[in-house]
Symmetry: C2
Subunit: 688 residues, 2 copies
């Protein structure tokens, strides 16, 4: 219905402002985009797939925030199925499928199918099992989930309470939940969708000659059918359901599952590495146990790779909006007719957004490094060389912790930096925030897994101390040996001299701090034999410092090797310095107590950061453009490419909000809620 607001324009023309911002920077967005995102033709695939999704009504995000949680699951399942049909229709390969999931931007009830479900069968099934199951999985003839976590136990796999008892008479396993806390819990896609599950349970075998006594043989994965293929009801002896609303993941049916002496055949146990002889009852093991951790490392590697694009999304919205938004005139200006300042011109806004912009690049280069490290390690493993597993495991743990913390906190920092509209649905950050806040917890809690890094570093330092002067076997060993050699004569470095940052000194400082903290941990634990648990906070800080050093190192290494136009590489170098100095300033005392950086340089950090931000500011819009996040994915009035912030906010409120179609009765003396309906509030009571 047309009304007088149709002809109103915003006082500030966001489109003109963004155009001027882009005009004002000589960075080539295309060049930088290609530098960042060329792997596997990401950019062209994304462009094609966005077009397909935008045409499908089912993939429209406009009303998503108005749906109830049950409706969000309906929609999630409808989209999951439609996506699979699109794969057939357009002949998409796996890479395309992943990009389509990324653009759809919700946890799909089918998400586990080709990740943990397929991977576990592929990696832990024997040849026969793989031959039987893999085609069904690839064709989605069955829908699978991965049931490891329980109500009472998450990270500690050894605490799993579900038992699988071998019955030598019937040659079956009996899967059973002895306690309520044994209930499988959180398992994605299990609540309403899956037909099959990998169930991780403690394997119990009868003790020799004593058929009523059992011995535990650790946890093993079983592949089992959980729902009837026609009625889709849970099989008898199984209770399954969706766990209900969560912080995020509305579209996903995270489930619970309990077993009552549920019997599965001998073939259910995945038997690539562990075999139970059905005739003799003997258990045999083959292969390297570390291989089983491969899929966890793979998942963590993906999470690390993904963090840059998540953070880039939040930063894209924040940079574009704060470049457009005006607020207050300069306090020192006497001219009352001067226009108000763009919010992004305030240092108090810059200090929240621009270091995060710099962080997107830091995350990127380390994501790339992890990808390479993962593939190299896999290749070595296939050749029977397991020596690099420890490094990969440590790096993937420490970086998963650091990178997801940076991204999760960064989304919220960006949201708050946008003031009031940042709290609105038009920010585009409501859903991403709710969903991404799972990441600091899943696949190893961010505080807990840093122990694995610290244990690795203490081991490396112990060995460096023991074999000082021998040839270093890897980069960490070289760092530690060098540290041990230098520490008595070390003096702190200047990372800033006058107005100049010294990149090499920066890298040096981060390395030294990491090595020094490793040495302190080694001293506390090995020399002074302090209890592990009393050191946990110190060890967590060590992991973070070591991982920061990895980010700094990788970013710096790229700067000296890329061939890219001068303006762009200058901007990247400023981002490197900003990320480094901001990180240093945030934990400045540790750079002082480890003797890594001079006090005068530490004092100079705030001013250096201010001037770096001033250098980056004119390029901010083009730098975020380079991340090539399509409007369809952003789903943000504040962050849209064309800058029409206010038009879009108004359109969402005035033309898309279903609540505005209903007239209410605010008179407290009556129970009627919708005016004229005489309903007495009954319709809402029925839903409670």
């Amino acid at each position: 219905m047309p009304d007088f607001s149709d002809h109103l324009k915003p006082a500030e023309d966001g489109a003109a402002i963004l155009a001027a911002e882009r005009e004002g920077s000589a960075i080539s967005v295309q060049e930088l985009s290609e530098h960042l995102l060329s792997r596997n033709d990401f950019l062209s695939r994304q462009a094609q797939i966005v077009k397909v999704l935008e045409k499908e009504k089912l993939f429209s995000k406009k009303q998503q925030m108005n749906l109830s949680r049950p409706d969000r699951y309906y929609l999630g399942l409808a989209r999951a199925k439609a996506l699979r049909r699109l794969v057939e229709r357009h002949g998409w390969d796996h890479e395309d499928y992943k990009i389509a999931e990324y653009l759809t931007d919700e946890m799909s009830p089918f998400h586990l199918q080709l990740t943990m479900f397929a991977t576990t069968v592929q990696e832990q099934g024997n040849d026969e099992q793989r031959a039987y199951w893999m085609p069904k999985i690839t064709n989605f003839d069955i829908v699978g989930c991965y049931a490891q976590t329980e109500l009472g136990h998450g990270s500690n796999v050894r605490g799993i309470e579900t038992i699988a008892t071998w019955d030598p008479k019937t040659k079956e396993f009996e899967i059973h939940s002895p306690y309520l806390t044994a209930s499988k819990w959180w398992n994605g896609g299990m609540g309403r969708t899956a037909t099959h599950a990998i169930v991780v349970a403690q394997l119990l075998l009868p003790q020799n000659g004593e058929p009523t006594k059992y011995t535990s043989h650790g946890h093993q994965p079983f592949i089992i059918q959980i729902r009837d293929s026609k009625t889709h009801q849970p099989l008898s002896g199984v209770i399954i359901g969706d766990i209900g609303p969560k912080y995020g993941y509305a579209s996903m049916d995270n489930g619970y599952m309990l077993f009552d002496h549920f019997r599965v055949p001998h073939s259910a146990m995945l038997s690539r590495y562990v075999q139970l002889n059905a005739e003799t009852g003997a258990l045999t093991k083959q292969g390297h146990p570390a291989l089983v951790y491969g899929s966890l490392t793979y998942v963590r590697t993906n999470i690390i790779m993904h963090a840059r694009l998540i953070l880039a999304r939040a930063v894209t919205v924040a940079v574009r909006y704060t470049a457009i938004r005006r607020q207050f005139r300069d306090r020192d200006s006497k001219d009352l007719n001067r226009p108000e300042l763009a919010v992004l011109d305030y240092p108090t806004v810059q200090i929240r957004i621009l270091p995060l912009l710099a962080t997107t690049f830091a995350l990127h280069y380390t994501g790339e490094m992890m990808y390479t490290l993962y593939n190299r390690t896999r290749d070595s493993i296939e050749k029977g060389n397991f020596s690099a597993i420890a490094e990969l495991h440590s790096a993937s743990s420490g970086l998963k912790s650091l990178c997801t913390t940076l991204a999760a906190d960064g989304i919220e920092t960006c949201r708050r930096a946008m003031g009031g509209h940042g709290f609105g649905g038009g920010s585009g950050l409501v859903g991403i925030n709710a969903d991404y806040l799972s990441k600091p917890t899943v696949e190893g809690d961010n505080w807990m897994i840093t122990q694995q890094v610290a244990a690795y570093l203490i081991k490396k330092m112990t060995s460096a101390v023991e074999k000082q002067g021998t040839l270093p076997i890897d980069a960490t060993d070289a760092l530690f040996q060098n540290y041990l050699e230098e520490r008595s004569r070390k003096s702190p470095v200047d990372v800033i001299r006058g107005n100049e940052m010294d990149d090499n000194a920066i890298v040096e400082a981060f390395k030294w701090r990491a090595a020094d903290l490793s040495y302190r941990a080694y001293k506390s634990r090995i020399a002074e034999k302090k209890p592990w648990n009393s050191l946990l906070i110190q060890l967590h800080k060590l992991s973070r410092a070591f991982s920061e050093q990895i980010l700094i190192n990788n970013f710096h290494a790229v700067l000296s090797s890329i061939s890219i136009s001068k303006t762009t590489s200058n901007a990247l170098r400023n981002c490197f310095c900003l990320y480094a100095l901001y990180t240093m300033d945030t934990d400045s005392r540790s750079f002082s107590t480890t003797n890594a950086v001079t006090s005068s340089s530490l004092d100079a950090l705030p001013d250096a950061i201010l001037s770096l931000m001033a250098e980056i500011r004119p390029h901010a819009v083009k730098l975020v453009d380079s991340w090539a996040i399509p409007d369809y994915l952003l789903d943000s009035a504040l962050g849209r490419y064309d800058g029409k912030v206010y038009e879009d906010l108004y359109d969402r409120a005035h033309r898309q909000n279903p609540l505005n179609k209903v007239t209410f009765n605010p008179d407290w003396r009556t129970e009627e809620i919708v005016l004229g309906s005489g309903d007495g509030g009954k319709s809402i009571l029925a839903k409670l």
Copy 2:
């Protein structure tokens, strides 16, 4: 329907664990509760009102997270009306009503009625206007909202684009929105509920003798009817609606409103301090303009008071759950049969939760101080003494910024410390997080308003420098004069000596740091005349440091004066030290660069914090019990008083989740979503 899960018990008995925790501490919960929450009979009122609300089906929170956003508003309005009826039925006074709102725990569409709407009429209306409007407001005969913020302008009231042009011929004001960005925006209760609004607009008066030229006379509040009293439709010339889904505030209809040359009578302008003579067109002002800021200061004072109970809620959930949750055996223990450790026994969990527990008390005593300061200042103002307004304004700005940041970040820290279940709906932290994240932004953005504190402190320091040696006029002046006297001979203090903390030295250190940072700001701005905007980050840090000093000071002052049992006061003193040392450690370098604390004490902070946490740990459950947060308000499986965590999580999933009543069709080859319905996904498409 009964099933085999009815007889299952959790492997860990949460109820027994919490009982043992309570048994293990000699703190008297009742004594501490009364010490904290006796004002206005809070505890007994709360106990009574909880009973009433728990009996009303409409106030059940069980299905709240399963409702769509439009349904959340329906429910919000139904509850708002029901609450008003409960007031009548039970003869509740205003204090009771506020407690009922607090327990209901959602932003009510009626929330503005007795806050900004009533307050503005009361404070800015003249006698006649108050006599006319106040009875209608108190009886809820009309429903009001407060329309100041606009689409294009939030904090900067001077940027308001809505105009009210005086027409001397008809003796009317014409309210008009010249731009789309002039649309009122965010205004609570306006979207679907309100019949009336306070509209803040730029007052335009014809220039003398030039009836087509106008001069702006600043922003003024107008009280106007916006919807028809029968049809509840917007009046002609007004567009109103709800702005749509947001990060939180689902139950509240934050609105937008545009005016098309909308005419209101002369009496619409609230005229206590500014009067327009309808005959002559002359504008007169009377009274102190600072009075108008009274309601903003009042709102900020309330926000500061409220922060403790918000944070206490999150900490209550986190402490109870992590005391129950078990994970991993001690790594140093060889005994494999040893039970797993309670998560709260890990220092890496303690360091996230226990400083926040300590912070709840720090927030409490400063909230009390603000309450006293506000009332004292109001009394002075009524006596015509305006000198304390500046201090109140500065304190309320700095503390609003610090306290809401502490509480908002604290909720999320608690949530993450609870691992997987912290991400689930049973945490009870989903809604509080979404709603409370508005607080760092509303009523003055937390980064922006710190400028007001810094400006105040620079002024105070300037005056202290100018009149050194004269009698101090207030505490800040005394602090600054003492600083100026001592600074040349000052040496840093030891806050820790051996294993002992020195409380007085701690207070001294926080004061000194605050004074030194004030002096640096004074030097940069006054002596070196640096541009204001270039100093913003430094000024923000100054505000924070000064506000931290206030919290420390107030907490310390109480410790020396309360009469309470030894165990309890010891625990409070440990909380004081923990809050102080944790805060110091977080920004340790500033205590070193301001010469406030010795390097050896700063080095000793981590160990001192560890031992304080070990002291507090046995009392943690009873300390949170003392905040007396009822289960009804917590609405948390993890945080419930009786510790039946797993039983409740399972019950919510298995017996309360509506999604589990529907059977779905996961076969991707068909478009059908609900099995057997043959719906082809149409029902979900209709909602998109």
